[in-house]
Symmetry: D2
Subunit: 352 residues, 4 copies
């Protein structure tokens, strides 16, 4: 039997922290040893999360975020704190030899300049940018296995990159024509109390925000798509807020290169993801629904040809909280620990 | 004081029928005299709609749909029956001299061939296609005033056309690059009981459907946009289903013509809708939300320039049931009756 | 033509303030002249409420809450500020001769001791407690017409009192056996940003709170029910939080007095509310739904006899924001101003 | 290693069938061999449930419901068909030696007369009523281990019985005063397409139904409560429909017997469920929320004393689809198969 691996969650009070705990509760080898929160230190997890009462981790005491304490108890840490805060904790834990999966944006952008421009702050440990591996498990599995520091992808980028990679990598679409229209559930905005996130403001409502290149996930998407395409790509990324808790559905539009058929497209997607159990290329005529991936690592892709305008339409659906954040972090930790990527992660979707 | 005008609703059991009654309850001059339904004939309105108990029309008896009976009692009729059924009723009432506002698609498409191809049935009264006026009140107000038969616009087309008209009419965008991503509340799918429309299938879910030119509102959108642009336009129209009752938000993307600035765009929109009280051009930085138009005739437009890709993004929000169907039908009836377009229609939105 | 009456809203940034504006927008005689908010003073209403852009009051500037300024401009004020704050403003405006409708709890409880115990603060103007009239329009219409200061009822009490009044006043039920199980939409908790009110905490959830006499509406309910019953009544009032924006449904259980039949009960309710257009006694077999009263002053009552346990079950449904707060405030203002109680308030429900 | 056990689902197209598949996907020893549906026979599971594409059971072919075929392949069957249909299938499979867990009501009521009166049909195999064990796992664990036929409890009764058992069995409350006010998510009404279950009818709504002893779960509740109390009990059971997919919250009111303290009550509940990992007695001041049990077998109980009226209030929350139906069926199958009751069932709740 494999040995257990001691892990920590730094910043346990947000939705990504909650989701990490849900998934670790079901994990065969990771043993949660330390959870931290500056604000809630001293309480038990079940004091702030009554749904954990009586479960495996309910009685755990929340500690203040002390790298020394974490390093004494754990060999791997999940950082579920905001960007800006994560980088310092990552550097401290990295230096102490821990493996780190950072769910913030601090190590996703390889260019320091780009990061500092979009996030409007100085990077405190740019020397680690080269160490960090972008943790999209389908595309960087080998690098992640060797990594000490993984930058867990953003939720929107996860849905977008998985949807566009095959078409871009095989040069089947006109990247300049790309339009990305994404819709996310409200957990994506985090758990901080703000008026605009109140139930009565979101329920029975729908709205666009940060359109036209204003959202910070834009450079992350562009960095990755440019890499696969082999040249600089600028995209129009446009997020919207759905009145649901979980789920992102991205609808992506691009002109087909001359002569490319839908059949070629389908073949490219099937080939690209042949060994990826979580990516499902839906049958012709079937389109993704966010409920079909709820609570899972699945990414459903629908491929449609708009014959009248010669555009390819790719629809992708993921659970922003599981696949787009905490589940993917766990998959990364699996790989970094020599486990199967899917250890503890193959739950069926909760439908309805 | 103006005289009351007797009106009928043919097909009162769907959501558009319900909404017509809500609005007529508040109308100063229209007097609802006949409501029909083949299925529910003989019942009172409040038997099938308990929310109308004790209100103005609650005690009305539902009649079977008999043109002769309607013509004896009324001078104007709203047709809230499905396409295919509406055309025959429209012809019968038209012949008897009634003014008709048809909420179905039967008279929206000027070309008989196009209609028959997209709707897969023969048009029973093609001679009336030339009589029918497309009832988008901002753009055809004068024609509507003279009309005997108005084709009430579809819900998606209403949101799209109002959002694109100024840019296309003034040749400010590249029509070939147009991508339309629309999201609608569930009332848009009507009230027929089907598994996919059950609460448990729609709640906490979001999905795309009829992508890439498969939706029947496509030719309607193209007909109108082509007319304003002065040339044939083919669009990529892509609907999605929101877990809300009311509201459509359309996000529309198009390349800007060389040299066109956002300021010119804003000016074009402001000028186009200067005298239209229901179209609101939102301030820079403010984006439409469907809750802000709930229960009203308002159409909110947000204008954003994606500078990095030189694309104009137009976001439009309407209430699909009021502005996109029954409210617009009432506005058309107002114009056809010599009333102010807004009679009985200037309610403030129900927020939250 | 009647003259317009100048009114103010003190505390315009909460949900009751928003709802007052929606209703005043449709009112024939009240002219909104002053709106106040300490936090948002200096902005226009449409800056904080984009849904008001272009509407009647959108351009109004928000003032700081200054009684002198209000008194110069207005003859009637709605207080939509929290309890504790309202009493001082009420006293100041009352002294300057304004009519005041206070939507807070500060003048609802006639006994100073009871108020101070339940609300845990000293009453700053107990001399006004005797002046204040409890503004439930069906039961105190004559007193309200004469009042200078009206204590607008709480949302839960409105739904409960209307549901129990006929049975208690005619001594048809055993008051000691009363159990009240109420369920409210989330607007009832106000607009302050707190984690527990976030969309992701309320959506897809349902919970009880403040059970067993812990909720501050308890003494208000008991005061009124005791008055109608003619003796002290202690009730078990138990609120729950629904994942909807608007609406309260209260299910109330009480043993029938010996020999009382359901027919007698129905007769008592019909008689009691014979002249009250907003209270609807539903037909046997029909039960209230909160959607049927959305946006209105209606109170739907369902009466059921549980024959097996000889209990009467009364179900009442209201819109907590309109009937349970701002609409009722407007009805009170109507009466205080010599208008019809229903002026501006007879909108049909927004269904669906 | 234990051997796998072949199981069947008869009636796979409803919500309980879907939930059984979700849970079996995660079960260590049950192997799903046959799924049946008269309507969908011949299709694969993923054809009707796209969320199962690529998962363990997605490719399974749906068979028509043939007892012989089922008996050849399986040793245990879950019946997820309507009452009336289930009894015949149960008898056929029972006779062929299969273990049967019937999710319908057909074997829950021990008295044939009571069943036939409430369900308005003749029982076709009354000889099996004595064989059937009522499958509430906390209370009948030993009997279930020996059973060949288990009547899986109803969803409402599960929430109610677990909430009242300790108080009734120890004679701490006045059973005659019991009032039960239950609120259920919409999956409880099943998946058949009916107008009243459409999204637009349920969303943003809340309503009572089948009040005062009209609901068929009433005799089931009374049968069980009477058994624990040791005498005939008649209850007032009153269901309501919540705009959520999953979850039942029951609020139960009963007078305390003289001299009984809340501490005694808490002790009785703690003692009764000391060895039951799924029942959580919440700390004083904490109340159940349906989200805290989503997707699980948990039953959260809150205990409140209304001191002013000397009433005990018990609040219970379960997931109606998992604990109240399919998960409980699986727990029963575990026990009947000699497994741990919790095999495959200890998932953490999906929050948020």
């Amino acid at each position: 039997m494999k040995q257990t691996i001691q892990v920590a969650i730094v910043g346990v009070t947000g939705y990504t922290g909650m989701e990490l705990i849900r998934l670790l509760d079901n994990h065969p080898l990771f043993e949660l040893r330390v959870v931290t929160s500056r604000r809630e230190a001293g309480k038990r997890l079940q004091d702030i999360y009554p749904h954990l009462s009586g479960l495996k981790f309910g009685e755990m005491t929340i500690d203040p975020p002390d790298p020394k304490h974490i390093a004494e108890k754990c060999s791997l840490a999940f950082l579920a704190v905001p960007h800006g805060t994560a980088m310092d904790m990552a550097a401290a834990l990295y230096q102490k030899g821990l493996k780190v999966v950072d769910l913030s944006a601090d190590f996703r952008i390889r260019s320091r300049e780009t990061y500092e421009k979009w996030y409007a702050l100085d990077h405190s440990c740019p020397h680690l940018l080269g160490e960090a591996v972008y943790g999209l498990v389908e595309l960087y599995q080998e690098e992640i296995r060797q990594a000490k520091l993984v930058a867990n992808p953003g939720c929107y980028p996860s849905s977008i990159i998985l949807g566009l990679y095959p078409a871009l990598a095989r040069d089947l679409i006109d990247a300049e024509s790309l339009v990305i229209d994404s819709k996310s559930g409200a957990t994506g905005a985090g758990r901080g109390a703000r008026e605009e996130k109140l139930f009565c403001e979101v329920q029975d409502n729908f709205r666009a925000y940060a359109l036209g290149g204003a959202h910070r996930h834009t450079p992350e998407v562009e960095q990755e798509l440019s890499r696969y395409a082999g040249r600089e790509i600028t995209v129009s990324f446009n997020p919207h807020l759905l009145p649901v808790n979980r789920g992102i559905l991205s609808t992506m539009y691009a002109g087909l290169k001359p002569g490319v058929s839908l059949q070629q497209i389908r073949q490219a997607y099937t080939d690209s993801y042949r060994h990826q159990e979580w990516v499902r290329i839906l049958d012709p005529g079937v389109l993704p629904q966010i409920k079909n991936v709820r609570g899972t690592m699945l990414c459903d892709l629908g491929l449609v040809l708009d014959e009248r305008t010669r555009r390819l339409i790719v629809v992708s659906a993921i659970d922003n909280l599981c696949r787009g954040a905490s589940g993917q972090a766990l998959a990364n930790a699996n790989l970094m620990s020599g486990l199967e990527v899917s250890a503890g992660l193959n739950l069926a979707p909760l439908v309805p």
